[in-house]
Symmetry: C2
Subunit: 101 residues, 2 copies
């Protein structure tokens, strides 16, 4: 008899909220938006486009990675980041649209 990890609704809400919290920051929201459509971008690319310091962006990338939003892959000297769940850009569009309206 396998023990399925059926989380309670409350546990699911806690995990979902934790992931959402990771995205709920202006810089991190922008990063997620920049990775739409399965795009992979390295740190230099990202911090250049964002106009922020490298350490700042690395810090935010670490938060997104640790909370399950992003994955990373090294290619030589560069580390590329991409969305673990491509659907997550829906959140960016939805919240931006709701803000504008």
């Amino acid at each position: 008899m396998t023990m399925t990890t059926d989380r309670t609704e409350q546990e699911i809400m806690e995990e979902a909220a934790a992931m959402l919290k990771a995205v709920a920051h202006p810089v991190r929201l922008a990063i997620v938006g920049m990775l739409e459509g399965g795009v992979r971008r390295n740190v230099t690319d990202l911090f250049g486009a964002l106009g922020l310091e490298q350490a700042v962006v690395s810090h935010h990338l670490a938060i997104l990675r640790d909370r399950g939003v992003l994955s990373q892959e090294r290619e030589g000297k560069h580390v590329f980041y991409f969305l673990r769940h491509p659907r997550l850009t829906e959140i960016v569009h939805c919240v931006k649209d709701c803000c504008m309206a």
Copy 2:
């Protein structure tokens, strides 16, 4: 010559992140989920269904109201809450799905 309030991309991201932050909490995520489809629910109804104290739920409702997520309307002794932007439940579904996967 009318002065259109064209916010910078950064300002939009800040507003969007602030709204997202309001939703990024297990209790508030649950509340938003309970208001899907234009449903209106009063405070007694909500704190009963959530199994939480009245003051706790009122506190979270105030955060959601102040950040533009919910609207309220009084009807006699009851205050009904509902989503200002019905689309926001998309966020609940999206983040829950991504968490499960």
